[in-house]
């Protein structure tokens, strides 16, 4: 059988296609050709507790009445941040109004240059909005009481001005910038954040910055943005937690939720022979570091191997599908250091403790 190339299928599924795949029953999915089976399984999105929490948070901060202009979505690699933005948010913000594009998703480019690649970023935004004539943009400048065109075509000014105009006239309410660290690693965080903030202010849109843990430190140190920004954390599932006495105990809630995710994905398995992972949920949680994205990658690899094997399941596939220990330990190190940054910075800790909240509640009760 021809070797299936997973990369060809990834990230090329439109929202309409995703909706169509979601409507398929398992029996119908079993009848799909091999490459379509992969696309079908790849397109599946399983909602889970941690993701639902982030979604609720984002919904709370989206919209014209929110003061937060810059939202930052952080989380471990493979947690599904990009896929969540590309699909869930895009689907939620779809507009039926002609010519309007309330949500734009852009992956910040990395060009290996020594300067921040702003023109490439603006180009990407324009391309994402399907803007015509990108190579013919011209900057209009108001000099005193005169309006003139200055500079060559496709100058930085012209691209910036075109982006602002596009966001305004396409009714873009949320601009998601993925891989923002490509911009922030030039040791000029303030300039980048200033530019992003001014873009959000000029266009009356909100920005959603997506990245890993390093983004947290960079965003929080920038005071201008801190006041009008919100940080959303897409957490992973943990097998063990510490109780009130500091003892390590099994985290039953997370284990159950992770098992539920595995079970739901198994129910959509597009082959007759379904591998059963229900008995090894806790081990899978360990092997995938409690990250749903990594779990999905593992299941996708299993599916590829099973399809290549003519639909017959072998438990040896698990070993091949799992990431090697060296890769996993690298990811684990990154996650743990990221979580440490969050803990040190006091993420999700508030100035008011429970006692203060109780006092407010009792005062409110008296006032009634």
């Amino acid at each position: 059988m021809k070797k299936l190339l997973l990369s060809e299928h990834s990230r090329k599924i439109s929202i309409e296609e995703r909706i169509n795949f979601a409507k398929l029953t398992r029996d119908q999915a079993c009848l799909l050709p091999a490459d379509q089976k992969l696309r079908y399984f790849f397109s599946l999105q399983v909602s889970h507790l941690k993701l639902d929490r982030v979604e609720a948070n984002i919904n709370q901060h989206l919209g014209p009445y929110s003061d937060a202009r810059i939202l930052t979505l952080i989380g471990p690699p493979g947690a599904g941040k990009t896929s969540f933005a590309e699909n869930a948010i895009a689907n939620r913000m779809r507009s039926s109004e002609r010519g309007q594009q309330p949500f734009l998703f852009v992956a910040a480019p990395a060009h290996g240059s020594v300067q921040i690649p702003w023109s490439a970023v603006y180009r990407k935004i324009l391309e994402s909005g399907q803007e015509p004539l990108i190579d013919h943009k011209r900057a209009t400048v108001i000099e005193g009481d005169r309006v003139v065109t200055r500079g060559p075509r496709v100058s930085l000014d012209s691209l910036r001005s075109a982006v602002e105009s596009m966001l305004r006239h396409r009714g873009t309410r949320l601009l998601a910038l993925d891989e923002v660290l490509h911009l922030l690693r030039f040791n000029n965080t303030e300039a980048v954040m200033d530019t992003l903030k001014s873009l959000a202010d000029a266009t009356d849109s909100q920005l959603l910055l997506i990245g890993s843990y390093e983004l947290f430190g960079l965003v929080t140190t920038y005071a201008q943005v801190g006041r009008r920004s919100e940080i959303l954390y897409l957490d992973r599932y943990r097998r063990y937690i510490r109780d009130d006495e500091g003892m390590q105990v099994e985290n039953q809630a997370d284990l159950n939720e992770f098992a539920s995710v595995i079970s739901r994905l198994q129910k959509r398995w597009p082959l007759e022979w379904i591998p059963d992972f229900s008995e090894v949920c806790a081990d899978l949680l360990d092997a995938t570091l409690g990250i749903v994205g990594l779990l999905k990658d593992f299941l996708m690899q299993c599916l590829v191997l099973q399809i290549e094997n003519g639909g017959k399941w072998k438990s040896a596939f698990v070993r091949k599908a799992l990431k090697p220990a060296s890769v996993l330990s690298g990811i684990r190190r990154e996650i743990e250091s990221g979580e440490e940054i969050l803990t040190k910075a006091g993420y999700a800790q508030f100035s008011f403790d429970n006692e203060v909240l109780e006092r407010i509640e009792s005062a409110s009760a008296h006032a009634m």
Partner: protein
Amino acid sequence: MDNLTVLYPACPAAIGRWDCEGLVSYLCRLADLHRVSVDDLVNRCLAVCSGYNFRIWRHFSWWNRNATISVFTEGRTDRLTSALALATGVTAVATLSLSKLSSALDLRGMASHVERHCPQCVCEMPYPEAFRPLLWDIGIVTACPRHGIRLVPSACGSPPELHLSLWCRRQVAGICTTCGRLSFKCVGVGVEKATREEMWLAKNAGDVIAAVSAGETFSVERVRLGVISMANRIGDGRPYRAALVCGFSKARLFDWMKGRRPIKFAPFMALCAASGSDVLSALRGQPSDAETSTFRYSCHAKLSAYPVTAKREEHIRAAFADPDCPSFSSVARSLGIHRTTLEREFPAEAALLIERFKQKRCAATATRRAAARIAIEHAIAVLQRDGRPVSRRNLFLESGILVTNGSRFEQILLELCLPVNEC
């Protein structure tokens, strides 16, 4: 993204009102919103969307030279309208010209050949919200109904040294294209109060635009009935007497009344003015009573009285004494007569004046060439000092001189620096 249009779905301004935006104004505004030139938008984007080769229209400044497309030009207005509607998804674009009125009236010669604006309107509508009402493009309209003042020609009043190069010009409403001054501040024409007749014309033409932009359609038959009714009212039962009252020929009136040809807008307005009819109701075939006006039709602008010989001689003497060496045509224009008429009467003086003007122009060209040579030499020296290649692009970025093919700069550049990097 099925519902994503190629161009922004920008709403046309003042739809259904007398000051409804014109088609070309909308096009210019759209190009400005997309941060591209009008030509790029038309030739590279609209042409792709609609499949019509807009390149054969040549440059925007060429095809828009008489501002007739906003009113109606057969073969152009409809093509541009349908391409814009397709690209923007805004169906209201179809109401930005008087195209829909073309089935009821003969719209030829209706547009103003001179671009005009209301000095107060352009100050109240600053860039980038500014738009150009279709009303300003109608030839017989000479006043602004909102401010009660006369429209003024938009020709640039800045000295030539302040004129922008073609690259730097912006084709946007509310801005002088030639010098870029906001709200046409370069135009030094004083504000004049409009007469009652001018106001009557402006208001009624505005009513017609409002009705057309609101989507109302008129039929040629209804208009014919309206013409008959108004002619009868003016002639008190003898309709052909209306021709003399209104200022057009009886033969034409006969054609209009018998449906041999559709009536034009100006004589129709003259009929309404003389009969005291409401223009809209007349277009609908049942003229109702309204304010009368003294407006009458004249097929050509009347020439002023032919100046006496002494005055002609005086003007020619003044032209000889003028150090600016005016052209012979400008002398004739100052007298209000054609240059051939003047040349026939004063052949020797005409030859001398023409020769003098040519010599002066040659000298000016030589001066300009010398100035351009110095500027290009300086720019080349700067480029060579910085180690940058001497290309047309770098030269433009350094000095602002655009060396186009066949321009006066090209020869100089070739002399100074051979071969030139063309990138």
